[in-house]
Structures are given as structure tokens and as C-alpha cells.
């Protein structure tokens, strides 16, 4: 069996969530890697949109920034930033918003704003970017981040973008989509329990134990009925992902 890293498993598990022809609003970093891997493997007709206004972009290497030149050069259309948020995201044309985060709570509420008090933060994080509107206006939201007690926390210092709280109706004011429906980490896949709305463990990546996952989670992690093991990366998935990372390193002058 092929050897792979936990990060590779995470990215591949996230890519598998994306279906062909989906319209995906992509955050930079891990979401971008997963979305482009999907495009290069099982979802060749997926439509990738970045908030820089690039629609249907097909980069050969992963962008380091949301506005790398190749995103524009390979896009079906390049529109202004006001337009991408008004006509395309708010317009209700996005199936999936794919986000990373610094911190989240059990409801998929994200914090990318501050650690500590807003007025006097111990750590000032970058801030919201597109997240608040992506979280509520995309058809659904996938989240990808590395599993740790510092990332998956019991209580957030700041709600940058909304998660779905118990009993909250997605038809509520400002909501269009289902909110966060999948959380992929380097340990497993979490899905929200439909009653409690809380993210529960649906699948563990090969070799990861339930104890490890619980130990790395800041809240009392529940297990979903029928916990499964994530199928390991296929040779094809790994090859595509590694080739993508190689092209990326070369494009950004790292080799």
C-alpha cells in the first residue's frame, strides 16, 4: 500500500466531497488545494470561483494568493470584486463555499478575527474576508483545517462567520444555504448531527484512533452513527496531488 501523509489524506478526503459540475467558491490555501485536486481528478467540469473575480479558473499550479495571475489567465470570465460578491455569491449561484479557518466551534462557527478581546486582542488574526457571506449565501459550506484543541474549541472568542445553532432555521434572515455541512481534518471527517447541529465524527482516516480525535478536539466530540474509516488515497489521487504540489513549488520559485 502506498505511503502518504496526514495532510495528503486530508486534502484528498476534502476533494472527494466535491462533485463534478459543482460551482465552488474557493478560499485560498487548503480549500484551494482540495478544489483543484478534485478538478484534476474526478471533477473535470467543476467551476472554481475565487473572490478576486475569477470565474471558472483552471490553474496548473496552486495560487499562493487569491489574485495570482494564472487565475485570471485561465478563467472563463474575470469580473470586478463588487460584481463577484453581488451578482455571483449574493446572486445565489454558488453550490459550495469551501473555507479554511483558524478556529471553529462545534456548530461550524468560524473565527478568523481575534484571540482574546476584540478591543485588546492577544492575537490579532487577519479578519473576515469573504467568510461571513460565503457561510450564509453558498448552498452549503465545507470547512477544512488541521485537527487540534487550539483549532476545534469549546468556545470561540469571536464569531467571524455563522455556524448553524440548534434549532436555527436556514430560512432565517440572511440565510440562503444549509450552512456548514462537512468538516475535513487531518484526522477524519465530521458531519453535523441534524438535531443537535453539532459536528460529530463520521469517519476516521486510516490509522487514526477515536481517542486521538477526541484528544485533539476542544469539545466533547460525539461519534456519528455508523462511524466508518476513510478509504485511503488511491495511487491516482496521490499522484495527481503530488504533481500539483510539484508544479506549485516550481511556479513559485521554490525549487
Amino acid at each position: 500500500m502506498v505511503d502518504y501523509t496526514a495532510d495528503e489524506m486530508m486534502t484528498i478526503a476534502a476533494a472527494r466531497l466535491l462533485k463534478d459540475r459543482m460551482v465552488c467558491f474557493v478560499g485560498i490555501g487548503l480549500p484551494s488545494a482540495a478544489a483543484n485536486l478534485a478538478r484534476l481528478t474526478h471533477a473535470p467540469e467543476i467551476v472554481l470561483i475565487y473572490e478576486s473575480g475569477t470565474i471558472g479558473t483552471k490553474p496548473t499550479a496552486l495560487p499562493l494568493s487569491i489574485g495570482d495571475g494564472e487565475l485570471a489567465e485561465t478563467a472563463d470570465a474575470v469580473v470586478s470584486v463588487p460584481e463577484i460578491f453581488r451578482y455571483w455569491l449574493q446572486g445565489g449561484r454558488i453550490d459550495v463555499g469551501f473555507l479554511g479557518a483558524a478556529q471553529l466551534d462545534r456548530y461550524g462557527t468560524l473565527n478568523t478575527t481575534v484571540i482574546g478581546d476584540y478591543a485588546h486582542p492577544s492575537v490579532r488574526l487577519p479578519g473576515a474576508g469573504g467568510a461571513p457571506e460565503i457561510a450564509t449565501l453558498a448552498g452549503e459550506v465545507f470547512i477544512i483545517l488541521r485537527h487540534s484543541k487550539r483549532a476545534l474549541v469549546e468556545r470561540l472568542d469571536f464569531a467571524t462567520s455563522a455556524g448553524l445553532l440548534p434549532g436555527e432555521r436556514v430560512e432565517g434572515p440572511g440565510w440562503r444555504g444549509k450552512g456548514p455541512t462537512a468538516l475535513v481534518t487531518d484526522l477524519g471527517l465530521l458531519k453535523p448531527d441534524l438535531d443537535s447541529r453539532e459536528f460529530t465524527l463520521a469517519s476516521l482516516h486510516p490509522g487514526v484512533t477515536l481517542e486521538q480525535a477526541r484528544a485533539a478536539t476542544g469539545w466533547d466530540l460525539k461519534v456519528a452513527p455508523g462511524l466508518t474509516t476513510t478509504p485511503p488515497p488511491t495511487a491516482g489521487e496521490l499522484e495527481a496531488l503530488r504533481a500539483l504540489h510539484d508544479r506549485t513549488r516550481r511556479a513559485h520559485g521554490e525549487v
Binding site: 494568493s65 485570471a72 489567465e73 470584486v81 449574493q90 473576515a128 467571524t160 462567520s161 432565517g172
Partner: protein, 281 residues
């Protein structure tokens, strides 16, 4: 009206201490050369507006030019933190920095409202976010037809907008292409504007429906080849990702930051000399 001049002259004439200044460019076409010129001319007490503060505002904030920042995402793209921004917010160095914080959607709509001479913009936004608790400039409004409750933000109307573009013709008409961000809105929302360009040409040869700013909506045009570095100008240069990574070390500590700015910005007379000083380093 689209007068072709030097960057130093344009900044001297058009940017005043205490101004609200929007230097836009969404990753692409960031007007770094103009940012340096504001620092060289010791502009102070500025309210800086920008969706993604990036290195350009990290430098202005670290050099003490800004008293307030209106923004929506303040990181070093693909790298991590903006250390000077963090130091100002977390420790008040070199001076406290007031924040007016939005989402990208909120700020993009606020620029569009400014360009359209509307006092506010309406959006489906900020639902479930704590941002409105800390930003009194995010309010709610009711649809007079459906009764729906929506978010409202005030229009951005800068004193000066500063952007970098690919081309201008000799009359001062400006052509921008590729990722165009909110630059057109920023210029149209502002009282005055400065556009640095890669080159001045006889004829723009703009394709149909291209993003063109007629000279009569621009105050000054200054040729500054490569003036977006370490950002890029599509068709002219590539993003210097290495510099974005290097900035993480340069800016992490106050003294290394200050000595770098001394040597490469305050110690040089213009952007061309700045670029040469980097190559020499």
C-alpha cells in the same frame, strides 16, 4: 484632469495629512511605489481604506502614517500575519490604530455605493457574525416592498484614491485589465485620484468594454514601471512571492523593519532606486 506628472509631485499635490486614502488593487496591481512615496513624504494622520491591507499598509502602519484602518482582511497572502499591523493593534506601536472592520462583501459594496454617489449600500450580509457588534457602521434596513431585513453599510468616499494600472495614453486615459478588483470604484468614489502606470502609450488600444478610466475622472497619472512590486501587473510582471515570504522576517521585529525601511525606502529617492537597492541587498 489626468495630468501626466511624477509620482512625487502627484503625492505632494494631492495627498494631505489627515486625509482618508484608499490605495486599492486586489492582490494584483497594488500601488506599492505610491505607498513608498507617502512614507518618504512623511504623510501623517491618515485614515487608510483597503480591502486587503497587504504589505503596502503594513509598511505605512509600521512607519506611523495611519491613525485609522478601514479593511476586511489583513494578512500576508499565502504567508501569514502582517506583523506591523498586528503590533499596532495588539501593542499600539508605533501608535494606536483605530479599526473599522468589514467583510469583503460589505466593503466592496461600500465602494460601489461611493462610486454611485449613494450614501449607503444594501447587502445580504453579516448574518450571524460578531462584526456588527464591534462596527456601528454596519446597520440593518427593511425592504419597502417585501419587508425583508438586510444589512446596510455607509458609502466609502475617500479624499484620495491611489491605484496602479497597466497603461495610460498621453491624454491621461487609463486602461486596466486582468484582476481589476475595486480600483474603478475606488477612483470614482474619491474626490481626487492618483494612477501610477507601467507605461504611457500613444494609443490605449483598449478592447471593447475594457476597464477604462477617462482622463477627466483621474487627477494625476504618473509612469512608474514595475510600481506594483512585489505585487504584479498582468502582461508586465509576475508576483514576487519570494518577497512576500521574505517580508515575514523583515517585518517581524520593529528594529529589523525600521532599518529595512530606512535603507530601502527613506534612503532612496524613488521607486527605481528602491528596486536597485533591493538587488544590491
Amino acid at each position: 484632469m489626468g495630468e501626466i506628472t511624477s509620482l512625487s509631485e502627484a503625492v505632494r499635490e494631492l495627498v494631505r495629512d489627515g486625509d482618508t486614502v484608499a490605495m486599492e488593487g486586489f492582490t494584483h496591481l497594488i500601488p506599492h511605489a505610491a505607498g513608498h512615496e507617502l512614507i518618504r513624504q512623511r504623510k501623517a494622520g491618515l485614515t487608510l481604506v483597503r480591502m486587503t491591507p497587504d504589505l503596502i499598509y503594513d509598511q505605512l502602519i509600521g512607519m506611523g502614517s495611519a491613525k485609522k484602518l478601514i479593511f476586511s482582511w489583513g494578512g500576508n497572502p499565502g504567508v501569514g500575519s502582517l506583523h506591523r499591523f498586528r503590533d499596532a493593534v495588539e501593542k499600539g506601536w508605533p501608535q494606536p490604530l483605530a479599526l473599522e472592520e468589514h467583510s469583503h462583501a460589505g466593503l466592496a459594496n461600500a465602494y460601489a455605493a461611493g462610486a454611485a454617489n449613494l450614501p449607503f449600500a444594501v447587502l445580504r450580509g453579516y448574518s450571524g457574525s460578531d462584526l456588527p457588534k464591534h462596527n456601528p457602521m454596519i446597520r440593518r434596513i427593511r425592504c419597502p416592498f417585501t419587508g425583508e431585513d438586510l444589512a446596510a453599510v455607509p458609502a466609502i468616499r475617500p479624499d484620495v484614491a491611489v491605484i496602479h494600472a497597466q497603461k495610460a495614453d498621453r491624454k491621461g486615459n487609463v486602461l486596466i485589465w486582468g484582476i481589476v478588483g475595486v480600483q474603478k470604484e475606488a477612483v470614482l468614489a474619491a474626490k481626487r485620484s492618483i494612477v501610477t502606470v507601467e507605461e504611457i502609450v500613444d494609443r490605449l488600444e483598449a478592447p471593447s468594454n475594457a476597464v477604462v478610466l477617462p482622463s477627466w475622472v483621474v487627477s494625476a497619472v504618473a509612469p512608474v514601471p514595475g510600481g506594483a512590486h512585489p505585487s504584479f501587473a498582468q502582461g508586465y510582471s509576475r508576483r514576487d512571492n519570494r518577497f512576500y515570504k521574505a517580508w515575514d522576517d523583515i517585518s517581524r521585529e520593529r528594529d529589523t523593519f525600521l532599518s529595512w525601511m530606512e535603507r530601502h525606502v527613506l534612503g532612496t529617492k524613488d521607486f527605481a532606486e528602491y528596486r536597485r537597492s533591493l538587488e544590491a541587498a
